[in-house]
């Protein structure tokens, strides 16, 4: 039996959601403000969006970000899924070790990770750009794919796997025909989350960007440091729209809504 939620509970929850979304909504609202200052509302305009499309620096940063995000999502999906699946066969000790390693990139603060990678790639004389960005982004993406695929694998009835093997399927066949189709929705959701995380990363990207490969968030951050301008509002609102498209897409694929 669950406790009933009181009127005050509903009120508190509603208030919380208002505060949670107020900052987001005000960014979108002021992107349509004709005045360049938030001090006054002088009417609706789309000028700031028009200005965006003629900005070459933003277009270039956007291209870099998309390339990095897609490559990161692909790399992370493959490596994360592979690791989750092989966890079914390795010895228990190896499995524990893998779990521990997967948590590592998530518990070291991003600044420390970024700085350590900066030193490392510098020592290797690796040019900073798409490659360093993808490698570093995979660091916080692979663990999420691994965790989400493993959670799905835990739901799968082990007897299906065993009977497939009993009936003479090779491990490779079994992975291809049974496991991968079952975990596919989780892989897609995780890959889309990777896409969003990579497109959003500021901290690690600051250290990994090369002179001609600044990512969009790094560029936006430098714009924001100057102060509030409606152009930034417009850019952020467009990104928000893109994000919602990604979420809608992932909902469409998984169909069944699942949380946690």
């Amino acid at each position: 039996m669950k406790a009933k939620v009181s009127g005050f509970g509903i009120f508190y929850l509603s208030l919380f959601f208002v505060v949670l979304y107020l900052p987001v909504l005000s960014v979108v609202l002021y992107s349509f403000n004709a005045s360049s200052s938030t001090a006054q509302w002088t009417g609706w305009t789309l000028d700031w969006y028009r200005q965006l499309f003629s900005d070459r620096v933003i277009a270039q940063a956007f291209r870099v970000s998309i390339q990095v995000a897609v490559l990161t999502a692909l790399l992370s999906a493959v490596l994360g899924t592979f690791t989750a699946v092989i966890s079914l066969w390795v010895t228990n000790r190896t499995k524990k070790a893998i779990q521990g390693m997967m948590i590592l990139p998530l518990i070291v603060p991003e600044v420390a990770l970024g700085v350590s990678l900066l030193f490392f790639f510098n020592a290797l004389r690796l040019p900073f750009g798409i490659l360093t960005l993808v490698l570093s982004h995979s660091l916080f993406c692979v663990p999420y794919v691994y965790i989400m695929v493993r959670l799905r694998l835990q739901e799968i009835d082990v007897s299906i796997i065993e009977s497939a093997l009993d009936l003479g399927a090779s491990r490779r066949q079994m992975v291809r025909t049974i496991i991968l189709p079952l975990v596919a929705p989780s892989i897609v959701t995780a890959a889309l989350l990777c896409l969003a995380m990579s497109l959003d990363d500021v901290i690690i990207s600051t250290y990994m960007s090369g002179p001609r490969s600044t990512t969009l968030p790094v560029h936006i951050f430098s714009m924001m440091r100057v102060g509030v301008t409606p152009k930034v509002n417009a850019l952020c609102s467009l990104i928000l729209m893109g994000t919602f498209l990604i979420i809608g897409f992932s909902q469409l694929i998984t169909k069944k809504r699942r949380f946690s």
Binding site: Q40, P109, V111, L139, I203, F221, I247
Partner: protein
């Protein structure tokens, strides 16, 4: 298949983590003991100077600022987020799904956008000041930006969903019959809450606190945009030292200090939640 052959399957992930976390971290440790010349080039000479400087009162202040920010962020997200998780878990199915969706959605929304939103709300010409001025409640704008508390609000806001999800997972597993038993035995609502609910959801609280505390130490772009650099935090300092400051050994020493703080919190978490591997943090 033989055991060692099966374990060979783990090689790709070992290489990946060794290359991207293992070696770089060893490099940071090594660098933190090296010196540099006046141009910022590394000089291969062992020194403890960097650690001595970490303990310098000026830099110790930075440590305390970060520790305070991270602790208060944990506290605020817990006080605000716990009731949210608790209420959500008690909602009827459809409303509950909606509330959960609204809680998770910010994970997908750009963190820069969410920080920028507070700049628009809190600025001198911002939305809150505009409304208060229009209502004639104040006659000149309230200065709300570029303070320690502004950074705190931004950081807590950014990390709130982590706390709520962690607490929610714990609250949702709570066996409600224990609460009924407590009421039947004559305990008040508050007594039941503090003696039954809180101890049983402690793993969620500890997990949420850890998940919020760690990033709070390093979210330098939030304190940069909202705090305006008036209060220096560890993240800002490491960032400046590693880039414009051209003092990599010192940046390395500070990174070690930051990691030490993280390890402290993790060990506390493992004690409080009895989660030996830290795996429960990400389930």
């Amino acid at each position: 298949m033989k055991t060692w052959k099966r374990n060979l399957l783990a090689v790709p992930i070992l290489v990946w983590i060794g290359l991207l976390v293992g070696i770089p971290m060893v490099l940071v440790v090594a660098l933190s003991f090296l010196s540099r010349d006046h141009l910022g080039n590394i000089v291969y000479q062992f020194t403890l100077d960097n650690y001595r400087r970490v303990l310098d009162p000026i830099y110790l202040r930075v440590f305390l600022n970060s520790l305070l920010l991270a602790l208060l962020t944990g506290l605020i997200t817990l006080l605000v987020g716990y009731p949210v998780a608790y209420i959500t878990s008690n909602l009827p199915p459809r409303r509950r799904a909606l509330a959960l969706g609204l809680i998770m959605l910010p994970f997908w929304i750009s963190s820069l956008l969410r920080t920028y939103g507070w700049m628009i709300l809190l600025g001198n010409a911002g939305l809150i000041n505009n409304v208060l001025l229009a209502l004639k409640i104040i006659d000149k704008p309230l200065p709300m930006m570029y303070k320690f508390s502004t950074s705190l609000v931004g950081t807590a806001y950014m990390l709130m969903p982590f706390m709520i999800v962690a607490v929610f997972n714990s609250v949702d597993k709570l066996d409600r019959s224990l609460l009924e038993a407590s009421y039947d035995l004559g305990a008040s609502k508050w007594k039941t809450f503090f003696h039954i609910t809180v101890p049983l959801t402690l793993p969620g609280i500890a997990g949420g606190f850890t998940l919020v505390f760690i990033p709070a130490l390093g979210l330098y772009f939030v304190s940069d945009l909202l705090g305006g650099g008036n209060t220096v935090f560890l993240g800002n300092l490491i960032h400046t030292m590693a880039t414009r400051g051209r003092n990599r050994p010192l940046a390395a020493a500070f990174s070690m200090g930051m990691i030490a703080l993280v390890l402290m919190v993790l060990s506390l978490y493992m004690k409080a939640s009895k989660d030996k591997t830290g795996e429960g943090l990400f389930q």
